[in-house]
Structures are given as structure tokens and as C-alpha cells.
């Protein structure tokens, strides 16, 4: 079995937000959640390009749902992470965990004890 695709940092953040938002993972909400949780302001262009790339890699999928009144009824995309995407996220988390292992004390981060 091939290993799941490698994730860049921003890609990882986007996928995590999508997982977190679940049934509310629409474009604008994802942007806002990223800003709120990761403290990074993302241009719409960069965000959408990333959606496209993740979709190309088979990590993200979407389906359109009817729009709300706030968008004059124009349809919106509800994103979801694919099984491959989830595998990639898990793989990325494992890499980070392995890299962090035993370093907590040396990095002396009081927050993490």
C-alpha cells in the first residue's frame, strides 16, 4: 500500500478546519475558522487555490447545497475530507508526534509541561 500524500502546513490546517466544521464546512466559514483558530488571515484566492489542489490530490471532496438568503439563494459547496485525506492527516500527526517525542522537557514549554 502506498503512503498517503504528504501535506503542507497550510493544507493540513485547511483539512483540520474542514473536519472540525463538519456540516458547516463552507468556503467562507472555513476562512473565518482559520482566522479564528490559527490566527492567520488568508486571502480568498489562496484558500480556493488550496481547495482545488486538495481536491486534485483526492484529499477533499464537496457537494453543492442550496444557498441561503444571505447569498441570494446562490448554491454553496459543503466540503468534506476524504478517507485518503483523513489518512494523510493521521500520517502527518504521527510524524509530528514522533518528532516531538521526548523533547517536551528540553524545549521547556511550560504550557505543555
Amino acid at each position: 500500500m502506498t503512503s498517503p500524500p504528504y501535506l503542507g502546513e497550510f493544507e493540513q490546517q485547511v483539512l483540520l478546519v474542514v473536519v472540525r466544521l463538519k456540516d458547516a464546512a463552507f468556503g467562507p466559514e472555513i476562512g473565518r475558522e482559520l482566522e479564528a483558530r490559527a490566527g492567520r488571515r488568508v486571502s480568498r484566492g489562496a484558500l480556493y487555490t488550496t481547495f482545488d489542489r486538495l481536491e486534485d490530490k483526492g484529499l477533499l471532496r464537496w457537494h453543492t447545497v442550496p444557498g441561503t438568503e444571505a447569498r441570494d439563494g446562490l448554491p454553496r459547496r459543503l466540503y468534506a475530507v476524504t478517507p485518503v485525506g483523513l489518512a494523510s492527516l493521521r500520517a502527518a500527526r504521527d510524524v509530528v508526534r514522533r518528532l516531538w517525542a521526548g523533547l517536551d522537557a528540553r524545549l521547556n514549554d511550560p504550557g505543555r509541561g
Partner: protein
């Protein structure tokens, strides 16, 4: 409250993003975000970035690659400056000249008249049985007005000129006398004061006038207190009741419009047989067709003919859309020029396509490399299209500048009486035309070469032979295009040739008089010259004063003069001829009162008998001089001297005049019109109020203008002088349409010839370069120089011949369009066609000979080594 994004940004998105579900999502996201942020600036920024940088969902319009192609195109043009300049200039010429002509055609022919729903406005008049328009008689108009059902309203109006006194120096003002229904019919309200109303038509009504905005400004300094003031215009005092909106114009610029009331009392106006210059205008009821309205008018005309056979038999009512009537005369000229410019534009396109193909062929290697490196065909195609569109844009931009210059030139040579000429400008429509022409040229004609060149596969990269398949194919296409160019050039040359013949014919035409050293002008006698004796005396004094001036060798006065024609055309009767049973068989002649020296001053030829002398006074026996056409028509083979004729209807009383002389025919109504029947009579016996003064001078006639005008003012300061022109100017103005056509066609034909010949030269020359090897081999094998020359010439001549055959056929098909413009020469004139073909073939031969000679100089050894 719901906020909406900036409408323009919204429109741009809708317009330029492909309309699909994906983009609906993008727009929805934008909208949602906008309503949260409430920032229009944000929305604009996002919309523009979406449009230009394409950050959105996949498959969005991306201009990134276009921009890249554009930069690449600019770099490659910089590397080939002469090619670029040639293409851009060719396009600029095509676009510039077509835009200039389009501006005129659009303003004069296409743009609706500046009245509300002007397509419902119809011109109405009466015509006699031979179809000649005779204007509407006043009583007939009254009947028509009440009987018709097809029009919301109808009105009549006529051109009138007045001498205005009491406001500084006496001056001539141009007016139009209109019925009260006139302004409501055309749908125009005065900007100030009231309109002329139906009540103003009544015979007893106070004479009223409405001023044009320009006249109001010039004469009264836009004083709003002008309403109620009086204007002395000839026989009547008109009260000013209104001022028209700025820019209002009906057919031409008028100083003012007056009510018809003061004239309706006049018995001659109320004579049903008198047609005194009124023409009608009607506004069709909505839903009534032109056809139905015309039928109804004809039916009314038939009723009137039954009710009033003496005056109305043979009379018909004619109608046509006001707009088309207005530009009747210019239509042919303008359409011919538009056709010519279309041909030129097409040639420019063909030439550009040819150049692009040639360039594409020579860039095969570059394209092959790109294809081999993975460039997709659509991407290469796009690149080539961007290149041709960039060239087209540059050509279009320069073309628009060129159009502005050309337009100024064209307006300078356009016949002054062309209607709506002042509306001509490089307006939005013209710019739109220019941009469309340039873009279509760029895209359509860039497409051929692009399709050609983008077929490049990786193969030519590996096998670079001289006779690659693609190259042979592009040659065939280029040859085809060149044949088309030669054909188009020939069509333009034939047109120009016919106009040259026409103009040569017109300028060498025997006018029947001597136009050199003649100064002419119109003089209107003011109030106070009401009776015949006073008018005759004034005319005599005018002539005497002018004659006395140093530099003047002869002077005369008349009601009208040659070329200009006369507005006094009347039926007449001959005493020895039976009265024709049908009214419309009664002959009509131009009546021209003249002073004794008239014929001599104009250098006219006396055919028989005598001309008038000082002895032909008011009290002496009434006499007349007729022209040859009248003598021949009325008394064929008989001596007209001693016969009698009488102006007016046969049954009415009138003065019988004895014919004392026959004078040679002159071109009376312009150079191209046939001479009408003419009756001259002594000015002393029939003195008119309007005079044409003719002065034969020993010095350049223009230089006498001031002294003659002051001599006239010496007779009475209230006399108004207008239309001061030399006879040469009058002649020249009468052929202005033909001259403009010749100028434009001539210039276009010259450009076309240059385009075709350089195209031919380029292609043949390119062929020689490509066949250097073959030619070298032939010469090495013993071919003579003349064989080589013949080989090359044959190639060029075969294309020329094909082009000439197509061109002659095309010109023959199109020549009917020149019918109204050519004169004295058949539109299929064999001599013109032969000359044009000979000229074109000769130039083509010369263009092919240069490369042919070069071919013979190729040293065989060098050609073989070059392999």
C-alpha cells in the same frame, strides 16, 4: 436591511465569468462575505482579482496566460519591427478609411432623424403624371388633411427667405413657413414661449414667428424678453412667440419658422392648380403601414382628380419616409464609397493574413520546438491569436487617429448641400465600428495563419527540409489570398477609372456658355420695390452701376442663371398649337426674365433671330427668346421666329409674346441634367423681386466682390446680397459629388494597387528564395536565363490573371451601383476596363520581374552548396 454589492462589479462578474454552477458558488461566497463585511471596496477588490487573476474554483477564466502571451507577442514584434510596422500600417489604413466613411454614412444615412419616433415621419408631396414632384397645392392640402385617416397629423411647410430690416443692416434670413400642425407632427416643442398653432393658419391671424436657438443668440443675445417683439420680414411684421431648443434642425439650418397665416389670404395660394413649394410631413398612426398610408393618399388623389379635373387630373400624391427622402441624392454616392471602403478593408485584412501566414511559415521551427517541449495545440493557437489581436489593436488605435484626419479631409470635399453633414463626427458608433473592424480583422484573419502554423508537430524540427508539407499548404493559401487581392484591387481601379472618365467628361462638357471670369450673386429687392416699374428701374440701375466699375467688362441681371436652375417653372401655351386634352400634356418651361446683356455676358450662342435690346421696354410689344430645345420640341422643322406663346394655363388670360430669337442650349440645371425647355423674356417686361447679377471681369472675378457689393449697396442699402460665387465655383460645386467619389475611389484604388503589388512581389520573391536550390539545379543543367525568368514570371502572372478574371467579373457585377454617379460613360465601358487591366498587369509584371531577375543571378554552384 439587505445590502447589495456595487452593481457594476456585479455586472462584470456576471458578464465575464462563465455562467455555471461553480461560478454561482463563487459569487455566492463573495456575496455572503460582502454582507458580513459591508465593504464595497472589499467587494471590488475581490471581484477584480477574480476577473484578472482567476483565483477561484477551477476552470475559471484566467488572464494570466493571456498576459504572458501578450508580453511574448510584444517581445517578438520588437524583434521584427518592419513586419510589425507593415501589418499595423496596413490595418490602420483599412480601419482608418473605413471608419471615416462609416462616420459619414452613419450620420447621413443610418442615424435616425433627431425627432421622437422619427421612423413614423413621412414626407408627402404631389407628383404629375410623368412622376415629377410638383409640391402640394394649398387647397389640396386642406382636403388631404380632413380626408386622410392614416396619419396622426399632417402638416405642410415651405422654404422661404426674407429680408429682415429694423435690426441693424438689412439682411437675408432663412425661414420656413409652416402650418400649425407642423411642430406637433414632428414632435418638437419650443424651449421658450409657445408653438405655432392651427389658429395661426387662418388668413386673418396675426403673423407669428419662432426663432431658432442660434438666431436667438446671434440676434438677441439669448434675451428671454424677445417674446412679443416684432420682426420686419419683407411684406409682414411677425411677432416672435417662441424660441426653439438648441440644436433643433429641420432638413437644414433655418433662422426662424413663420406661420402660414399671412399668406393664406393670397388668391394665387388658394388656386388649386398652383403648386407653390409646400411639401408635407405626416406622422403615421401607430400600426399603420407605409403601404396602407400610401394607398390611402393615392385614393384621395383619385377622388380629388374626379372632383377637380381641370387642376388635378394626372396628379398623384407621393410619400416616402422622411429620412430616406432627405438623403435621396447622396445615398448612391455614400453607398458606393462605403462599398469601396469595405473592399479596401477586406484587402487590408487579406494582406495582413498573408503577412501573418508568411511569418507563421518562417516561425515553424520555433513553434515546433514549443510543441516538442509539450506546448498544447490550443495554447499555441491562443498565442498566435493574441499576437494577431495585439497587432489589430495597434492598427485599430492608429486607424482611429487616421480616421479623424481623413474625416476632416472628406468633409472638406463633400458637397456642401449634403444633408446632416454637420452631424458627422467620430462618435461612439464610429469608434465601435473601428474597434469591431480591427478586432474582426485580427481574429478572423489571424485565425487562418494561426490554424496553419499551429499544425506544427515535432516533425519539422527533426527533418528541416525546404518543401515541408505545411509550407506547401501555406503557399497555396497565400496564392489564393493574393488572387483575391488582385481581384479586389481591380474592382477599385475600375471604379476609379470610371469616375476619372466621368469627371473628364463633365469638365470638358460643352455647357453652352463661357464660365470664365464671371462673378455671380443673388440680390433681393427690399420692401418699397413693389411695383413692376420700380423693380425694372432698380434692376437697370444695378446693372449699370456694376458695369461702370473698372475691371468689369460686361454685366447683366436675370431671374436665374445656368447650372443653378430656376424655381420658376411654368406651363405655357403656343398660339398655333392645339390645347392638349390632358392637363399633364401641357408643356412646362423654365421662365427666365433677363436684361439685354444677359446672353452676351454669359457668352451664349444666338442661333436665330435677335436677343433683347434696350428697346424691349415694359410698354413695347411683349417678346420672348426660346432655347433650341424648346424650338425643336414645339416646332420641329419649322421656324419659331414670329410664333407666339403665353405663360400660364391656356384658358387663363395672359400676355402673348412673340418669339424673336432662338438661343443655344445651356446646361441649366447642373452638368448632368438634360436641358429643359426655356423661355427668356425681357426683364423690363417681367421684373422679378429676386435677381441674379452676373459680372464679366477682366481681372480675377473673386477680387471684384467687395466693389460690386458696395455698388449694389449704393442703389439701396436695404438690398441683401447673398450667394456670391464665381461661375467656376458654381460649376465645381455642381460636380462635387462626382469629385468626392473620384477622390475617395482614386485614393483607395491607389492604396489597393500598392497592397496587391507589394503582396505579389513578396510572394514571388519568397518563392524565388525557396526555390533557389531548384533554380540552381536547372541552370546547372543548362537552363537559359530567359527560361528562369519565364518560370518565375509564369508563377506571378498566373495569379495575376486569375485575379484579373475574378476582378473583371466582380467589377461588372458591382458596376450597376455606380449608375447614379457616372455620367457620359457606360458603367461597363470596355475602354476603361481595358486600361485598368493593362495597367494592373503591367505593374504586376514589373513586380514579378524584379525577383525573376534576381533568380537568374543565383550562381548554380552557390545554390547547390546552400543545401
Amino acid at each position: 436591511m439587505r445590502h447589495d454589492p456595487p452593481p457594476l462589479a456585479e455586472w462584470l462578474l456576471r458578464r465575464f465569468l462563465p455562467l455555471d454552477r461553480q461560478n454561482d458558488v463563487v459569487r455566492g461566497d463573495l456575496l455572503e462575505e460582502f454582507r458580513r463585511r459591508q465593504s464595497r471596496a472589499w467587494y471590488w477588490r475581490e471581484a477584480l482579482s477574480l476577473l484578472f487573476r482567476g483565483h477561484g474554483y477551477k476552470n475559471m477564466l484566467t488572464l494570466d496566460s493571456l498576459l504572458q502571451d501578450f508580453r511574448f507577442a510584444c517581445r517578438s514584434f520588437a524583434k521584427a519591427p518592419s513586419f510589425t510596422a507593415l501589418v499595423v500600417l496596413t490595418l490602420a489604413l483599412g480601419v482608418g478609411s473605413s471608419t471615416a466613411i462609416f462616420s459619414i454614412v452613419n450620420a447621413v444615412l443610418l442615424r435616425p432623424l433627431p425627432f421622437p419616433e422619427s421612423d413614423r415621419l413621412m414626407w408627402i408631396s404631389e407628383a404629375n403624371s410623368s412622376g415629377a414632384v410638383v409640391s402640394v397645392s394649398w387647397p389640396n392640402f386642406q382636403d388631404l388633411r380632413v380626408r386622410q385617416r392614416s396619419f396622426e397629423r399632417i402638416a405642410v411647410s415651405r422654404h422661404s427667405s426674407f429680408t429682415m430690416t429694423g435690426h441693424g443692416q438689412a439682411r437675408r434670413v432663412l425661414g420656413r413657413t409652416v402650418t400649425g400642425s407642423f411642430f406637433p407632427t414632428i414632435g418638437v416643442q419650443p424651449a421658450l414661449g409657445r408653438s405655432i398653432t392651427d389658429a395661426d393658419d387662418a388668413p386673418g391671424a396675426e403673423p407669428v414667428a419662432i426663432l431658432s436657438h442660434a438666431f436667438w443668440r446671434a440676434q438677441f443675445g439669448e434675451d428671454p424678453g424677445v417674446l412679443g417683439k416684432r420682426l420686419n420680414l419683407g411684406d409682414f411684421q411677425f411677432t416672435i412667440v417662441g424660441v426653439l431648443p438648441a440644436g433643433f434642425r429641420y432638413l437644414r439650418d433655418y433662422d426662424l419658422f413663420t406661420s402660414v397665416g399671412p399668406f393664406t389670404r393670397n388668391p394665387s395660394l388658394n388656386d388649386r392648380g398652383n403648386h407653390q413649394g409646400f411639401v408635407g410631413v405626416g406622422r403615421l398612426r401607430p400600426g399603420v403601414t407605409e403601404r396602407a398610408a400610401a394607398d390611402e393618399l393615392q385614393q384621395i388623389a383619385r377622388q380629388l382628380a374626379q372632383e377637380h379635373p381641370a387642376t388635378n387630373s394626372g396628379l398623384n400624391t407621393v410619400m416616402s419616409p422622411l429620412q430616406s427622402r432627405l438623403v435621396n441624392e447622396e445615398r448612391t454616392t455614400l453607398l458606393v464609397l462605403f462599398g469601396a471602403v469595405g473592399i479596401l478593408l477586406l484587402m487590408a485584412c487579406v494582406n495582413v493574413a498573408n503577412l501573418l501566414i508568411a511569418r507563421g511559415a518562417s516561425r515553424q521551427h520555433e513553434l515546433a520546438v514549443r510543441a516538442a517541449l509539450g506546448g498544447r495545440r490550443t495554447r499555441l493557437l491562443m498565442q498566435l491569436l493574441v499576437e494577431s489581436t495585439t497587432l489589430a489593436a495597434a492598427g485599430g488605435a492608429i486607424g482611429i487617429l487616421l480616421a479623424a484626419g481623413m474625416l476632416r479631409l472628406l468633409l472638406g470635399v463633400a458637397p456642401a448641400e449634403t444633408p446632416r453633414l454637420d452631424e458627422v463626427s467620430l462618435d461612439r458608433a464610429a469608434l465601435f465600428f473601428a474597434v469591431t473592424a480591427a478586432v474582426v480583422c485580427g481574429i478572423v484573419f489571424g485565425l487562418f495563419p494561426a490554424a496553419q502554423a499551429s499544425r506544427a508537430s515535432g516533425q519539422p524540427l527533426v527533418i528541416r527540409t525546404r518543401t515541408a508539407g505545411a509550407s506547401a499548404q501555406s503557399h497555396r493559401l497565400r496564392r489564393g489570398l493574393l488572387v483575391a487581392e488582385v481581384a479586389l484591387a481591380l474592382i477599385l481601379l475600375a471604379g476609379a477609372g470610371l469616375m476619372v472618365r466621368t469627371l473628364l467628361g463633365l469638365t470638358s462638357l460643352d455647357t453652352g456658355f463661357r464660365p470664365d471670369h464671371l462673378l455671380t450673386m443673388r440680390v433681393e429687392l427690399p420692401r418699397g420695390f413693389d411695383d413692376d416699374a420700380k423693380r425694372a428701374a432698380a434692376a437697370g440701375e444695378l446693372v449699370a452701376r456694376v458695369r461702370e466699375l473698372p475691371g468689369v467688362t460686361a454685366a447683366a441681371a436675370g431671374y436665374s442663371m445656368p447650372i443653378d436652375g430656376s424655381s420658376w417653372n411654368s406651363v405655357f401655351a403656343a398660339r398655333d398649337k392645339p390645347i392638349p386634352a390632358s392637363r399633364d400634356r401641357i408643356p412646362v418651361a423654365a421662365m427666365i426674365p433677363v436684361s439685354p446683356a444677359y446672353f452676351d455676358t454669359l457668352g451664349m450662342r444666338v442661333v436665330r433671330g435677335r436677343v433683347f435690346t434696350a428697346a424691349d421696354r415694359a410698354a413695347s410689344p411683349p417678346v420672348a427668346v426660346v432655347n433650341e430645345t424648346l424650338a425643336r420640341t414645339l416646332w420641329p422643322g419649322d421656324d419659331p421666329i414670329g410664333k407666339s406663346l403665353k405663360q400660364g394655363w391656356p384658358e387663363r388670360p395672359g400676355t402673348w409674346r412673340e418669339v424673336v430669337g432662338v438661343i443655344g442650349d445651356v446646361k441649366f440645371e447642373g452638368l448632368t441634367e438634360t436641358t429643359p425647355l426655356q423661355v427668356y423674356m425681357p426683364l423690363a417686361q417681367e421684373p422679378p423681386r429676386d435677381l441674379t447679377i452676373l459680372a464679366k471681369t477682366a481681372v480675377p472675378p473673386g477680387s471684384m466682390r467687395a466693389s460690386i457689393e458696395s455698388a449694389i449697396a449704393g442703389v439701396s442699402p436695404e438690398m441683401t446680397v447673398s450667394a456670391v460665387r464665381t461661375m467656376d465655383e458654381v460649376l465645381s460645386a455642381s460636380i462635387a459629388r462626382q469629385r468626392m467619389a473620384l477622390l475617395v475611389l482614386g485614393v483607395f484604388a491607389a492604396i489597393a494597387l500598392v497592397l496587391a503589388v507589394t503582396g505579389l512581389y513578396g510572394l514571388v520573391s519568397h518563392g524565388v528564395t525557396e526555390r533557389a536550390h531548384e533554380i540552381g539545379v536547372r541552370m546547372a543543367l543548362g537552363a537559359e536565363r530567359r527560361d528562369v525568368v519565364a518560370l518565375v514570371l509564369r508563377g506571378g502572372l498566373s495569379m495575376t490573371t486569375a485575379g484579373v478574371i475574378l476582378g473583371v467579373a466582380g467589377a461588372a457585377l458591382l458596376s450597376r451601383g455606380l449608375d447614379g454617379l457616372v455620367f457620359g460613360v457606360d458603367p461597363l465601358d470596355p475602354a476603361t476596363f481595358a486600361a485598368v487591366v493593362t495597367g494592373l498587369v503591367t505593374v504586376a509584371l514589373a513586380a514579378c520581374y524584379l525577383p525573376a531577375r534576381r533568380a537568374t543571378r543565383i550562381p548554380p554552384a552557390a545554390a547547390l552548396r546552400a543545401d
